[in-house]
């Protein structure tokens, strides 16, 4: 293409000045736009992938965190004190378990006064209740209850108040000395006693809905399901 030459007067000198024609401009901008679109699409894809990975890791972190709490409590308790209360919800037309499970525990495992001197057995002095809330998104909660009546040491049996019908979300505040969230975005929390194996089996499902699949606009659920099996080691005498 022939270069358009233009001349300008710069002071007393005549200087030759180069420029772009409109056609060149349009073409180059169109090309730039195409490149930017490609870059943007690639960036968007990468960003979604990044977000998906983050979501997945968040979900895994939730499960790992929950596992630490559950493992600590359920491996140290007595099997005779574990009681399961089945609860369900159906937010999207599908029934999900949101069970409650109780166990006996000791307030401070390092304190000698929390153990019988003649036998070394734990002086169970509190109940711990895990339950998944019925709201959405559900949370896995851990509540520590010290009942007023009867006072510790507590007999080895499931928490009578919970097994008698009181919902964990309605425990008397005076008896709940501690309540904390162990996991978020819980979809399902199911517990089952395996008396043959002298253990407790738990199924925890965590879900987040912030991911997109591939290039489309379809939102996906990131779900992680974990099954735990706990053998309460302080079951004495063995049942």
């Amino acid at each position: 293409m022939a270069q358009t030459k233009s001349y300008a007067l710069l002071g007393k000198k005549l200087v030759r000045r180069a420029g772009f024609s409109i056609a060149e401009l349009v073409v180059s901008m169109a090309t730039l736009a195409l490149v930017l679109i490609g870059v943007f699409v690639l960036f968007n894809f990468s960003a979604r992938g990044f977000q998906l990975i983050n979501t997945r890791q968040d979900v895994q972190n939730e499960v790992l965190k929950a596992r630490q709490w559950l493992e600590r409590d359920f491996t140290l308790t007595h099997l005779g004190s574990v009681g399961v209360k089945e609860r369900t919800v159906s937010p999207d037309g599908i029934t999900h378990s949101r069970d409650a499970v109780c166990l006996l525990s000791v307030s401070d495992w390092q304190q000698d006064s929390n153990f019988f001197s003649l036998t070394g057995l734990p002086r169970w002095n509190q109940y711990v209740v895990y339950y998944a809330t019925r709201d959405e998104p559900s949370r896995l909660m851990r509540s520590v209850i010290v009942p007023e009546n009867p006072p510790p040491p507590l007999k080895v049996r499931p928490f009578p108040r919970m097994m008698g019908g009181t919902d964990p979300e309605n425990f008397p505040p005076a008896e709940v000395i501690q309540s904390q969230q162990v996991a978020n975005n819980v979809l399902e929390f199911e517990c089952r006693l395996d008396l043959a194996g002298q253990s407790l089996i738990q199924n925890l499902k965590v879900r987040r809905r912030e991911g997109y699949s591939g290039m489309g606009n379809k939102k996906t659920d990131e779900v992680l399901e974990a099954t735990f099996r706990w053998d309460p080691i302080n079951t004495t005498p063995k049942i």
Binding site: S46, F50, N54, Q57, Q60, N61, L64, Q68, R72, L76, G80, W109, Q110, D112, F115, F116, S117, L118, T119, G120, L121, P122, R123, W124, P153, L154, K155, V156, R157, P160, L195, A196, Q198, I233, N234, T236, P237, K238, I239
Partner: protein, 570 residues
Amino acid sequence: MNRLNKRGIALITVMAVLVLCLMLLGAFLQTNRHYLQLYKGGQQRDAVGAATQSAFEFCRFELERDNTWGLPFTESRSFTRSDMEVRELVRESVGDREARLEIVFTDSGTIVRVAILNNLASSAVSPEQVPANSCRFRIDSELGGSSGGAEIIVRKMAYFNSTAVASEKIRIDALVSFFDSRDPIHNQVRSQGDIELGSLRNSDGDLRFQFRPGGDSQNANAGTVWAKGDISLAGQNGQNSSILGQAAEETGASWIDQGRSHSETPELTLEDIDPHTGDELLIEPGSYKFTKSLLQWQDYSGEWNDFPADTPLLEHWQNGQVHAVYFPYENTGTLPPERFRLKEFPDAEVSSSFYSTTEFHIQDGVKVNLATKSISIDANRNAKVMDRPDVKGDFEITTDSWEVIPTLQFASVTDWTKRGSLTAEGNIDIKGQVYGVGNLLAGNDLTIAPNYIDQDKEEEHNSTNSNIALYAGNDVTIKPPDTGTWGINPQITFRGLVYADRNFTFEANETRVSGQNLTIEGALVARTGTIDIRNAYHANLIYNPDYLTDLIKRQEGNRGQIEMIAWRPR
């Protein structure tokens, strides 16, 4: 000039994109560092937990192999076991009572330090607060940044750990049943079949089942009633009602039906029993009958003369015939007669032994008292019934009159170190009472059927002071006599192991009599059969492991099973 400028722009652009990518990567790694740390920490924590468990199992194995293991090591020693390098450390000072180990797990690199304080042989809490008859393991594990450990209390396991155990049905019909324990841990009634009990409250409104665990308030759980099948209270099945929940609430014990855990009741044979007696003596098998049968003696003219009708006799029967007769005879100075017979069996001459008193030894170690109708085994003697090819190795003490109360008596009344023992390969059948400190060991059936028990006559025959252990290779039966019933306040008490390889039956009078009590302190075992207690007034079942270790032979060396009592994280 223009070309140079264009190259410069491209470079800058590429560098800008690279910087952007590096920033994104950095952000990604930063975000995931926490996750990676969490994951790695979890892995290390799992390794530490597994190492703690492995170290405990190693120590338990060593302690079971030798119950004296765990005393402070006087010299350092190293050895390898599978994937562990174990180093026994010399005790730090003379007064140090703890043994110390260092274990390195070669595959994971976890280091474990164990401190052992063995208090198994002591019946008192140690100065370090280790419970009596227990051993403490203090385990500390570390790997990388993770550490953990546990403090574990273990103790020797008794041969039987249940107050009452049966592989088939347990049925107890008593006005009140006491399930007690002298052990602070165990107080359980177990059945591999069903358990049938009466209603929760008796006709007087009292709680029918009372659990009194050992250690009093030390144990927050009163006891356990466990059945692999159903538990029913007065016909109410635990599966169909809330009766078991109510029972748990009122008794403080755990009531578990449809149990699925597996447990085996160990078998005992006669050879496993240690009678803990001194010399063995052999006693003739057969039936020893206290009676007043009319005995006749032949004078030198050949005429048969009657003894006085109230002459007490002890007849010894074998194979359906009178083998010998023992009786008192006052020597008037003339030659004693040589031939005797029972008037009811005129054709059979009997071998007779007569004595100048009513109390005499019929053989070494066996004394008869015709006045008190008792056969007594000397203290610290094991009377073993001979097992001959021509005569079954059974032993029976009986009478033919309900007014006569025969007694098998062990000479030692309260001294456990001088107990006696009666052992028979066949049946032992005592139609009378058993008194004193001793063991009845029958290879087949063992039956005790006193024909009359009256607590008011304590000074004559106080069965409440019996410290008797029972073993039967088949059934153990305690019942009223075939003719007659028990009197008032009958007390049947056994202290020691009551073991039936098949069934245990306690059958009192059909009409429940006040004080018609059964007391067993030790353990009650029906290994392959049922436990059936009927019409008892009180059934007192008391678990006492001390009585069990006493009767059962010690295992070779210092071997003994160990059970874990408590696990405390560190």
